[in-house]
C-alpha cells in the first residue's frame, strides 16, 4: 500500500512541474469552452430548455466538459502501450503488486494533479467569467445540496475508475499487436462521442443514446454531468452510480483477465 501511495505522490509531483505548457493548456481549454458556450447560446436561441437542460446548465456543461479532459485523459493515453513496446514492461511486471494496480496508482496521481491545476482553474474561470459566456442574468450552475455534492464526488471517482479501466484495457492490446496505438486511438474516437464529451447525450436521438449505453463511455463524463446539473431524480442518481460501479467492476475484471493472457503470451514469445 505504501508503495502505491508513493507512486501516487511521484506522479502528482511530476505533473505539477510543467508550468509553461500548463498555462498554454489552460488558455486552450478556456478558448474552446468559450466557443462551445457561444454555440450553445446560439443553438438555444429563444428556447429556455432542451430535454430538461436549461441554457445555464448547458453553458455550465461546456465548462465541465473542458474540466474533465485532464483527469479523464480524454484525448490520449498510451502509457502502457509504450511500456509494452519498449520492453519496459518486463521489469515492471516484476514489481510486487499487480500491473493493473501499478498503473492505477500512477493514474490517481496524474488525475489528481491535473484536476487540481487544470480542472479547478477552468471551473473557477467559468464561475467568474460567466457573464462573458452567457446571456445577462445567467449563473454558473452548482449542485444544490450536500447530498448532490456527495453524489457528484462519487460520480467523479467512479467515472475516473471506469475511464482508467477502459483506457487500460485498450492499451493491453499492445501485448498482442504492434499497432496497438491505432486500436487505442479508435477507442478514444468513440469515447468522445459516446461519453457525452462533445454534447450532452440527452441531445442525441434516443436510439443513439441506447447504442452508446452498450459501451462504458457514457458512464464517465455523461454520468458526472447529469448528476452535477441536477437532471436526475434521487433513484435515477443511485441507478447511474450503480451502473458506473458495475461497469468499473466489469472492466477491472476484463483488464485482469486480458492482462494475464497478455503476459502469458509475452512470456511464451520471450518478450
Amino acid at each position: 500500500m505504501r508503495l502505491q501511495l508513493e507512486l501516487v505522490r511521484l506522479a502528482f509531483r511530476r505533473h505539477l512541474a510543467y508550468r509553461a505548457a500548463a498555462l498554454a493548456g489552460l488558455a486552450t481549454n478556456f478558448f474552446f469552452g468559450l466557443l462551445r458556450a457561444a454555440v450553445m447560446v446560439a443553438l438555444y436561441g429563444e428556447r429556455q430548455e432542451m430535454q430538461g437542460v436549461t441554457l445555464e446548465a448547458a453553458i455550465t456543461y461546456t465548462g465541465l466538459s473542458q474540466a474533465v479532459i485532464g483527469p479523464l485523459a480524454m484525448f490520449s493515453w498510451l502509457e502502457v502501450t509504450r511500456a509494452v513496446h519498449s520492453g519496459e514492461v518486463a521489469s515492471d511486471l516484476l514489481k510486487p503488486m499487480g500491473y493493473y494496480g501499478f498503473w492505477l496508482a500512477r493514474d490517481v496521481g496524474r488525475a489528481l494533479a491535473t484536476f487540481l491545476w487544470r480542472s479547478v482553474t477552468i471551473l473557477l474561470a467559468y464561475v467568474f467569467m460567466f457573464r462573458l459566456l452567457a446571456p445577462p442574468g445567467a449563473k454558473f450552475v452548482l449542485p444544490e445540496s450536500l447530498a448532490q455534492w456527495l453524489a457528484v464526488v462519487l460520480a467523479c471517482c467512479l467515472a475516473w475508475w471506469v475511464s482508467f479501466s477502459w483506457r487500460f484495457l485498450a492499451n493491453v492490446s499492445a501485448f498482442w499487436s504492434p499497432d496497438a496505438r491505432g486500436i487505442v486511438r479508435l477507442a478514444f474516437i468513440f469515447s468522445w462521442f459516446a461519453s457525452g464529451f462533445i454534447m450532452p447525450l440527452r441531445f442525441y436521438p434516443d436510439w443513439v443514446v441506447e447504442l452508446c449505453m452498450l459501451t462504458p463511455f457514457p458512464h464517465t463524463v455523461n454520468s458526472i454531468v447529469e448528476i452535477y446539473l441536477g437532471l436526475l431524480s434521487g433513484p435515477e442518481i443511485l441507478a447511474t452510480l450503480g451502473l458506473q460501479l458495475a461497469w468499473g467492476l466489469a472492466l477491472c475484471g476484463a483488464c485482469l483477465l486480458a492482462l494475464r493472457a497478455g503476459v502469458r503470451r509475452l512470456v511464451i514469445l520471450g518478450g
Binding site: 486552450t28 474552446f32 466557443l35 446560439a42 486500436i183 486511438r185 462533445i198 454534447m199
Partner: protein, 269 residues
C-alpha cells in the same frame, strides 16, 4: 521563396515511399482520421436536428461552412505537415533542421517535402462531400462568378492556416512551450469558422474581425454564396477579400520566419 518543384516532387516521393513502408500503421491512421471527422460531423448533425439549425442557419447551410473549412484545413495539414509546429519543433530539437541547412536546396522545399500526412486525405474528401451535400440542401443558386470565386476562397483559407503553421514553427526556434497555444488558433480557428459567426458574442466576433480577420475567410464568402443579407453591416466588399486576408497573414508569417531563421543562425539550438 522559390519552391523548386522538381526537387520537391522527388523528395516528396521519398517521403511517401517511407510512409508506405509502414502500411498497416498508415491504414489505421487513415481509418482513425476519417472516423474522427465522421463522428464529429455526425454529432453536429444530430444536435442541429434537435435544435433546428443554429443562429437561423439550416443544417445544409452550416454543413457548407463546416465542410469547406474542414477541407481546406485538412488539406493544409496534409501538404504542410512538415511545418506542423509540433513536428517542426522536434526537428529543430533533434538537429535534423541542421541537416536541412547543410543541403543546397530551399529550406521550405525540404521541410515541406519531408513530411506528408497522406492519412488525412479521407478527411479532405469528407470535407468536400459535406460541403457538396450542404450546397444541395441549402439550395445555392450558382453563378459563374460564384463558381470562379470558390477556389479563391479555398486558397485563402489554406494560406491562412499555412501562415499559422509557419508562425508556430518559427516560435519553436525559441521555445517549444507555446505550441499547445497554437492549437487554439488552428483547431480553434477551424471550429470557430465552422459556425455562422454572427452567433458569437460581440467581443469574440470583433476579435476575429479586426485582430485575426477569420470572419472574412468562411462566413462572408458563405453569405455571398447563399445570397444572404449581412447581419453585421460590413462593407459590400467583405465577402470578396478572403484570398487577400489569407495571403496577408501568410506574408506576415513569412517575414517572421526569416527573422526566426536569422535568430537560429546566431544562437544555434
Amino acid at each position: 521563396m522559390i519552391v523548386e518543384l522538381g526537387l520537391y516532387r522527388r523528395m516528396l516521393g521519398a517521403t511517401v515511399r517511407s510512409l508506405m513502408q509502414h502500411r498497416v500503421s498508415f491504414f489505421m491512421q487513415l481509418i482513425s482520421a476519417t472516423l474522427i471527422t465522421l463522428v464529429e460531423f455526425g454529432a453536429l448533425v444530430l444536435v442541429l436536428q434537435r435544435f433546428d439549425g443554429v443562429g437561423g442557419w439550416s443544417i445544409g447551410e452550416v454543413a457548407m461552412l463546416y465542410g469547406f473549412v474542414a477541407a481546406s484545413f485538412k488539406l493544409l495539414e496534409t501538404v504542410g505537415a512538415g511545418f506542423d509546429p509540433h513536428d517542426f519543433g522536434d526537428q529543430v530539437r533533434l538537429g535534423r533542421f541542421d541537416q536541412i541547412l547543410l543541403r543546397p536546396a530551399g529550406l521550405v522545399t525540404q521541410v515541406l517535402a519531408g513530411k506528408f500526412d497522406l492519412h488525412r486525405i479521407g478527411q479532405v474528401v469528407e470535407g468536400f462531400v459535406i460541403f457538396g451535400v450542404g450546397v444541395a440542401l441549402a439550395g445555392v443558386v450558382w453563378t459563374p462568378e460564384k463558381l470562379a470565386y470558390l477556389p479563391l476562397v479555398f486558397v485563402g483559407q489554406m494560406a491562412f492556416f499555412a501562415g499559422l503553421y509557419l508562425m508556430g514553427s518559427t516560435i519553436t526556434f525559441w521555445t517549444v512551450d507555446a505550441i499547445e497555444a497554437m492549437n487554439v488558433l488552428t483547431y480553434g480557428g477551424q471550429e470557430m469558422m465552422s459556425y455562422p459567426m454572427h452567433i458569437y458574442q460581440p467581443w469574440l466576433r470583433r476579435t476575429f474581425t479586426y485582430f485575426i480577420p477569420a470572419i472574412f475567410l468562411n462566413y462572408y464568402p458563405a453569405l455571398y454564396l447563399l445570397d444572404r443579407p449581412d447581419p453585421l453591416g460590413m462593407p459590400a466588399w467583405a465577402p470578396f477579400i478572403a484570398p487577400l486576408v489569407g495571403l496577408a497573414l501568410l506574408l506576415v508569417a513569412w517575414r517572421f520566419w526569416r527573422f526566426g531563421l536569422r535568430h537560429y543562425q546566431s544562437t544555434g539550438s
